[in-house]
Amino acid sequence: MLLTDIPRRAPGVAGRTVDDEAVLIHPQQGKVRVLNSVGARLWELADGERTISEMAAVIAGEYAVSPTRAESDALKFCTELIERGLLTFEG
């Protein structure tokens, strides 16, 4: 997975923001997951239009985190959620 990849929320996965966090449900897997505040924001930004790098830039602007760290965290986050079937991506 690269910073230039464009993630989007996987079809069939539903999510809602609850108190700055996000609750996701993947009905086909029968799995429920809670994302923290930053994760919830990344989930929101994964709209199929932004690259991971662009998502990270938004996070760096909104949270007290360096751009480099934001890119590293966003890449890790997207990779994990793709492995769990919660995100898909376009190269």
Partner: protein
């Protein structure tokens, strides 16, 4: 096949079917009908003590039936259910109703046809100590969502289901209840309604 508009459900099978298969069908129908009527079928135990009704959620093996048996033996509460309980909105809160769906080993089912306004929801955690700890709204919503059988398997219901679970736990709250195998956890439950 479930026909909501026609208020009808059909189960077709050939030959002999085990009773559990028919019961499973009835559970599915109950869950879908409950959701479409503004309620929720929840995998939990419900204990009614006076005016207070507590829901105990947790995966299979977490201690729901044990908590029911301990409460019954100690004369602390009447169980509305130990496996599937129906929630319906009432006023500003939610009312829990007993259902016919119990764990097979449970003998005492006196509260099956009773109901009570939900006072609090607790996630059971087996422990050596007895105490409750708060849960955040998102974690509580997710926990209830995970314990909404059938409805949480249906993609068409997902968005609304998250909102309904959030609405329920916003009203009732949810805490983690650490408990051991005795009725001592009632000291925590009794404190929560004081």
């Amino acid at each position: 096949m479930i026909h909501l508009s026609g208020r009808r459900a059909e189960l077709s099978f050939r030959g002999a079917q085990p009773a559990w298969a028919i019961e499973y069908f009835l559970r599915v129908v109950a869950a879908v009908v409950a959701y479409h009527n503004g309620g929720l079928l929840v995998h939990c135990a419900a204990l009614k003590a006076g005016d207070a009704t507590f829901l105990l959620v947790g995966q299979s093996g977490s201690g729901k039936s044990t908590a029911v048996a301990l409460s019954h033996a100690a004369g602390k509460a009447v169980a509305l259910g130990d496996d599937l309980v129906l929630l319906r909105p009432e006023g500003d809160g939610w009312r829990a109703y007993g259902t016919p769906f119990w764990n097979i080993e449970t003998v005492e089912r006196g509260g099956q046809t009773s109901s009570g306004l939900v006072t609090g929801i607790y996630k059971l955690i087996k422990d050596d100590a007895i105490f409750a700890e708060p849960m955040g709204l998102a974690a509580a919503t997710a926990e209830l969502l995970a314990n909404a059988p059938v409805a949480n398997d249906l993609p068409a219901l997902s968005e609304g289901l998250i909102g309904r679970c959030r609405s329920i736990v916003q009203r009732t709250g949810m805490q983690r209840l650490h408990f051991r195998k005795d009725a001592g956890f009632w000291s925590v439950l009794a404190g929560s309604r004081a």
